[in-house]
């Protein structure tokens, strides 16, 4: 009788341990597998929808000045409206879709755009959040970015090349890092910025890793791919 109870308890503990191991495997491995596959499908769909004829075509000549980028209206909530590429993350890092909104369900599908921050190319702060671990971990290598590294954003009609400018580590409640002028919530923006946020340290939510970048150039799709894409 007592032996049976002890055995039952032992089996319970073993089961609990197995459950925890399984959960860790699911979170750290399986969510990556599923999310990478799903995110690749989403970007492929976007590229097809946009009819990317310029893909792979080198820019014809030296980059021109195309004037101010077009003003984009805020995308509908939950819609994928852009693709982000970071050549310095290496050839294994795939392109990632950018969704409107930063809810947990959207960040499983790609990178999330903070609603009502600037759209790509606009004056202000185009701010996005992404997973650093799990769910395809789009921003896994965010801490390895160095000033000058390109961050290339593609929309239906245009390419935007941002250059990494600075990084910082802040508390999770510091919403001012995604303000039009980062850390100056009341200032009027004059620059075209992009901000990336991810968790920090890895496997923790104690702080946030923040990367700021500034728009270097933009070009319409008809001008071909930006040279920065090949730099990685």
């Amino acid at each position: 009788m007592i032996r049976g109870a002890v055995r039952g308890l032992g089996e319970l503990f073993i089961t609990a341990g197995l459950l925890l191991l399984l959960f860790v495997a699911w979170q750290l491995w399986w969510t990556d597998v599923v999310a990478n596959r799903a995110q690749a499908e989403i970007t492929a769909d976007l590229e097809q929808e946009w009819g990317d004829g310029s893909r792979g075509a080198a820019p014809a000549e030296a980059p021109q000045d195309y004037g101010d980028p077009p003003e984009l209206a805020q995308a509908p909530d939950g819609e994928a409206f852009a693709i982000v590429r970071i050549p310095d993350f290496g050839p294994d890092w795939q392109e990632r879709p950018v969704f409107q909104g930063t809810g947990l369900d959207l960040l499983k599908k790609g990178v999330g755009h903070y609603v009502d921050t600037a759209m790509p190319g606009a004056v202000g702060n185009f701010a996005v959040a992404g997973h650093r671990v799990t769910y395809g971990r789009p921003f896994n290598q965010i801490a390895e970015l160095e000033p000058g590294d390109p961050i290339v954003v593609e929309t239906a009609d245009s390419w935007y090349v941002y250059r990494m400018r600075s990084s910082t580590i802040v508390a999770p409640d510091r919403v001012d890092v995604v303000a039009p002028v980062p850390e100056q919530p009341d200032a009027v923006p004059t620059e075209r910025l992009m901000t990336l946020t991810a968790c920090h340290p890895m496997y923790s939510a104690r702080e946030r890793f923040i990367v700021h970048a500034v728009l270097e150039s933009w070009q319409p799709k008809s001008a071909g791919e930006p040279a920065a894409l090949a730099a990685g």
Binding site: T15, L19, L107, G112, C199, A205, R208
Partner: protein, 54 residues
């Protein structure tokens, strides 16, 4: 618990082994598809935004 399951599985030993494997696969599938996704938001490192998630 596991001994009881083993006894309840019908058939000769090879059949029992196959059934047990199928059970394990079914349990893992239910956990991966339905249980873990519900538990995931409770894990701290899934939070990447500043301010409240929208």
């Amino acid at each position: 618990m596991y001994a009881l399951i083993w006894r309840l599985l019908p058939g000769p030993r090879p059949v029992k082994i196959l059934l047990a494997l199928a059970l394990v696969v079914a349990v893992v599938f239910v956990l991966f598809e339905y249980v873990f996704p519900v538990a995931a938001p409770l894990v701290p490192f899934n939070d990447n935004t500043v301010g409240d998630p929208q």
